[in-house]
Symmetry: C2
Subunit: 255 residues, 2 copies
């Protein structure tokens, strides 16, 4: 199995290194990742600048390609130009910081997986529930490799990715895997209003995350209870229930 590995924390992160090592037991790994931290970049694409691919060495050998772009750029460029054939699986991560509930929409890690899916590559995203970049990503990497090894046994449809979130506890304390739905937790946003040394005003984002999902059938709840959460995610965005009520619009016309 040929596995493409990417992330949004950048190619130098501990998470992607642990992931590549664990996946090497499951298949042949190619790493193509941003050359720097790209968190909260969402599904951004670089359309007005050239991309460059630089070979990166790590622990004596070639580790992968660093790209001056976003996670979605890395996936597109890898599949279109860097790899000789499309990979059998894309794994994005290990992200430092969970990507559950509404955070999925902001996540570069999950967007890399959805970009892979749109290019026809079976894809999954893996995140660890700790923003500390020294947190041990190995348990998450081991579970990622386990799920990757079974990925093709589940007949996952072409429009669906797996979004995996792992609690930040030792491997032996993880209680197992739960299949979950996207939760509804979100941010209570705030900005701190400050003055710079020239007296000009600026704003820092300083939101609080409200974790309100507790059920084991939610991504957030399962992860908080010590399970690896696996959510099947797809981007079928039409709210079908509103198609009929909105038809009153058909009577309006200008000009």
């Amino acid at each position: 199995m040929n596995i493409l590995v990417t992330n949004d924390d950048g190619i130098d992160s501990a998470g992607i290194f642990a992931l590549a090592q664990a996946l090497a037991k499951v298949g042949s790994v190619t790493v193509v990742a941003p050359d720097r931290q790209q968190s909260a970049v969402g599904h951004a694409l670089t359309v007005s600048d050239p991309l460059r691919a630089t070979k990166v060495r790590r622990e004596g050998g070639v580790f992968g390609y660093a790209i001056n772009g976003t996670p979605a750029d890395c996936v597109k460029l890898a599949v279109c130009s860097l790899l000789s054939e499309p990979p059998d699986l894309l794994v994005s991560g290990i992200n430092h910081g969970s990507n559950t509930s509404k955070n999925i929409l902001y996540s570069g890690t999950v967007s890399a997986a959805s970009e892979g899916m749109m290019m026809g590559v079976p894809s999954m995203a893996v995140s660890l529930d700790s923003l500390d970049h020294r947190a041990d990503a190995k348990p998450a990497a081991e579970y990622a490799a386990l799920i990757a090894s079974r990925f093709h046994s589940f007949s996952i449809p072409k429009d669906t990715i797996l979004n995996v979130n792992v609690p930040n506890i030792p491997l032996e304390e993880i209680k197992g895997i739960r299949v979950t739905s996207q939760g509804t937790s979100g941010w209570e946003d705030a900005y701190e209003r400050r003055k710079d040394p020239m007296g000009r005003e600026y704003f820092w984002l300083s939101g609080q995350y409200n974790s309100i999902d507790n059920g084991l059938d939610t991504d957030e709840g399962a992860m908080k209870a010590g399970y690896v959460s696996v959510t099947p995610v797809r981007y079928r965005l039409t709210n079908d229930e509103m198609l009929s009520p909105l038809e009153a619009l058909h009577t309006l016309r200008l000009g």
Copy 2:
């Protein structure tokens, strides 16, 4: 009605000017938009840099605030800090370039609306089917104002935004409005491989868009047929049909 207006083409674009003018007939408009072009930025947020809000004058009066950030930043900052109370409606656009089918995922214009929705603000995105920045955005702005004036009559749920796409034809040639579903058209990606003057390789994204949706019940199809397309969009991302098949994962455990 207090209306917040933003976009991803930047506060200097013709599209946002036409939109603000048209909406001024429907309510009291405040413009908070990126200080420069932010296309394909998706749902990116600025988390590691301070934001600044600069008053921008246009045609003799204060037009709005320019923010050194993404469309989602503009919405968050406006609702949290710049406006004295949450707006009754957010309208994002007029984007130069349609945001139909899979393009919704890359769109800064639509992401601004979904950010508004997540903050509890009724929200809509409006895009014009032309990448030419000299294209006339006024017909799209007139339809945006018409739909905005009726927005609160449709009992649109809190998790749903309206995604509006307008054909690039004169107002009197637009056939009316169709309520539609998200289409399935997408990109055939490619990168041009080039050498810079120093002989180093770089890549330019040069994809082709394959427009395969023709039905009047799809965003792309309705727009191509000369209608304003209105799609109710929500981000309920779980693929419920896969929850049960994936439960085989519950039997796996490491450590």
